[in-house]
């Protein structure tokens, strides 16, 4: 079974600064996706960024970028120029792409990291 670990329960950053959230995962599969989701107090889970395991290039989405280290099974999220609206709980998630398994499409989440942004 796949596991996802976020070792930072809480992080804080000053507005306009950069912060990195850590995530490690464990899997024996070769075909999968990794995601970062943001969950504000409204509880709406919002996709921040995705990474396909077979792509070596790190994904970027505006101020958000990842450092994907496949061999080390590490997937960190960097938020640049942090804004007050970035404050939320952030979840790292794994999704199997093995179409023949019952776990196909299932998201496995980490425990989450609460990000506080100070003005």
């Amino acid at each position: 079974a796949q596991t996802v670990t976020q070792s930072q329960p809480e992080m804080s950053v000053q507005e306009a600064e950069t912060v990195t959230l850590s995530c490690t995962y464990d899997t024996s599969e070769s075909d999968y996706y990794l995601f970062w989701y943001k969950q504000p107090p409204s509880r709406q889970m919002i996709l921040v960024i995705r990474q396909e395991a077979y792509k070596q290039q790190n994904a970027t989405e505006n101020r958000f970028s990842v450092n994907f280290q496949k061999a080390a099974k590490s997937f960190s999220l960097k938020i640049s120029d942090s804004q007050l609206g970035d404050a939320a709980m952030y979840f790292c998630a794994y999704r199997s792409e093995y179409a023949g398994g019952t776990s196909y499409g299932k998201l496995t989440f980490g425990q989450g990291t609460i990000l506080t942004v100070h003005p």
Partner: protein, 115 residues
């Protein structure tokens, strides 16, 4: 386009009472998921539907939880009887298997409090 709709947003019940949650996925999405999110934790999958078929319900506590997805559209998750430990947020998500990324879109969740 409307997102995933869930109701109610909040529910408070006494233990041993039954409760039901409703989810309306994004139009055209053939896959529907129910997740359980305990306070301060990441969501955990309870059940996944492909159209009207439950293809993964291994994490659903079948002694008290049940779910259905009639006609492969709306879904209802039921707990009977509810226990104190069932207090949590119940999230529904949907996706279209066959899209480029099979991205899951989440609803706002139902926060259940069992007294």
């Amino acid at each position: 386009e409307a997102g995933v709709v869930q109701s109610p947003r909040y529910k408070i019940i006494e233990k041993k009472q039954p409760v039901a949650f409703w989810c309306n996925p994004i139009s055209g999405h053939n896959t529907l998921y129910w997740y359980l999110q305990n306070l301060g934790q990441g969501p955990e999958l309870l059940i996944r539907y492909e159209n009207e078929e439950a293809v993964d319900d291994s994490q659903l506590p079948k002694d008290r939880f049940s779910a259905e997805r009639l006609k492969g559209v709306d879904s209802t998750l039921k707990i009977q009887p509810a226990e104190l430990g069932d207090s949590a947020v119940y999230l529904c998500a949907s996706s279209y298997r066959g899209s480029s990324y099979n991205e899951q879109f989440f609803g706002p969740g139902t926060r259940l409090t069992v007294l």
